[in-house]
């Protein structure tokens, strides 16, 4: 049986892992490669690096980080943050990343998804969607780290991304992110039910029960979290034991 994946997310800036609330108030968390290896040893199923500065002049730092990670980490890892063209994707995949996550550039030019998937295969193209609940029904897609609203509906955009060749959707709830009050279950379930490709839920994990909820009720295929792992409150092994005890199949 396909197991549910637990994915620590490493937000990186200036070669360090940082964590913010609502995409702001950054705190230093450690060295990315050291943390990646530790998570892999503790049983993480996959890793995500998000370059939250996404500044072109910082790309060399990110590529170097990817190369160093690939030399000592033998689980899949995804790299995202400001990726705008297939050349950047090539550089990151060649450096050793298994997948790339694209977001703003995909919203601005949806054909980018198709181009990337055609060259490198859908299996390495993750489309990241940041969504925020509207006052009426539904969720709106935001870009630029949650600062810019778009006219896209989150569910419609997820379906469109799938149709264009995305291999997975990394779905972040802007409302839940950083709150540690649990994932946005209705959002996650609505998107997971609308598409065939896997959904990685993100934003709001504060306790292993939140991961259990999003992987069952929320119908997510994978749960991404940062603080609960970085701050040591719930190590990966304890989180997985909790999930196993609550009937969620994990490695």
């Amino acid at each position: 049986m396909l197991l549910k994946r637990i994915i620590p997310c490493l937000d990186v800036a200036g070669g360090r892992v940082v964590k913010g609330i609502h995409f702001r108030q950054l705190r230093d968390q450690g060295d990315p490669v050291v943390m990646a290896r530790a998570y892999s040893d503790q049983g993480a199923d996959e890793l995500v690096f998000l370059d939250i500065e996404a500044a072109p002049q910082q790309r060399a730092t990110l590529v170097d980080l990817v190369e160093r990670t690939a030399r000592s980490v033998f689980i899949p890892f995804t790299v995202g943050g400001g990726i705008r063209d297939v050349d950047e994707i090539r550089t990151l995949l060649r450096a050793g990343a298994d997948k790339v996550s694209i977001q703003t550039a995909a919203v601005q030019r949806p054909a980018f998804i198709t181009e990337a998937a055609r060259v490198y295969g859908s299996q390495c193209i993750v489309v990241a969607i940041d969504a925020k609940r509207e006052t009426d029904a539904g969720w709106r897609v935001y870009t630029h780290g949650g600062r810019q609203v778009t006219d896209l509906d989150a569910i419609g955009w997820a379906k469109d991304a799938e149709r264009r060749g995305a291999g997975e959707i990394l779905l972040t709830s802007i409302d839940a992110d950083g709150t540690q009050n649990g994932y946005d279950l209705p959002l996650t379930r609505a998107v997971a039910n609308a598409i065939q490709i896997p959904v990685i839920a993100s934003g709001g994990a504060g306790h292993p029960k939140d991961l259990a909820a999003v992987l069952t009720e929320g119908r997510a295929d994978a749960a991404l979290a940062a603080s609960i792992f970085h701050e040591g409150a719930f190590p990966i092994a304890d989180t997985k034991r909790y999930l196993r005890e609550h009937g969620v199949p994990v490695r």
């Binding site: 549910k4 689980i75 899949p76 060649r94 050793g96 299996q123 291999g167 997975e168 896997p198």
Partner: protein
């Protein structure tokens, strides 16, 4: 020396890093000569079948691969590197290497596709390379699966709604649908098995040469 088949599109970096960690020397092979001279071959393929086959033919590596495998050079095919061993892929109608009889078909399942993530390998047939694989979770990412005509080559199965063939083994040829280079310690274990198997085969071949009259 282990040769990694490079047809220009596959990402060899992660397999090479894994072999480096196991302290095994590897060389990126881009010519038929490099394959012919190899002690063992690892073929880590990604992407679609047709462009990969076109690239192999363009480099005249298709014939060299077939010859090396038929000669008994220890071979490990990973993901597309397993699928290309068969006759034909339904993915894009590509004619493949045809070393094993059977086809590559889209996985007919009610579950989500692509099949991405960790899944267990069961019903593992005894082979030095698959030792310890039974029940282990490995990392998969694919939508197509191999359908061998001769079921005796099947060395492992995995269930994603329906069972499918996740490993094959015949003599010195092994192919796996999952990615051992991305499957943590269990994956490194399988690669280590392959390296030891290749060394033993080489030693045995050397001894056989010496005992000739």
């Amino acid at each position: 020396m282990i040769a990694l088949v490079d047809y220009g599109a596959g990402n060899l970096r992660s397999v090479r890093n894994a072999l480096d960690t196991l302290e095994v020397e590897s060389v990126i092979a881009t010519t038929p000569q490099e394959l012919a001279g190899a002690d063992a071959i690892v073929f880590p393929g990604v992407g679609a079948a047709a462009p990969a086959m076109a690239a192999l033919r363009g480099r005249r590596m298709d014939r060299a691969l077939i010859d090396a495998i038929r000669r008994g050079t220890p071979f490990l095919g990973i993901c597309l590197g397993l699928q290309l061993l068969f006759e034909r892929s339904a993915e894009d109608g590509a004619t493949c290497l045809g070393i094993l009889s059977g086809t590559v078909d889209r996985l007919e399942t009610a579950e989500k596709l692509p099949h991405v993530g960790w899944n267990t390998v069961d019903a593992v047939a005894p082979h030095p390379v698959t030792a310890g694989l039974e029940g282990k979770a490995m990392y998969f990412t694919h939508s197509y699966v191999v359908a061998p005509q001769d079921r005796s080559v099947v060395a492992g199965q995995t269930i994603h709604g329906v069972p499918f063939v996740s490993a094959v083994a015949v003599d010195t040829l092994v192919g796996v649908q999952f990615h051992p280079e991305r499957s943590g310690s269990a994956g490194l274990g399988l690669l280590g098995n392959f390296v030891r198997f290749a060394n033993q085969e080489r030693a045995r071949a050397a001894q056989a040469d010496h005992s000739l009259p």
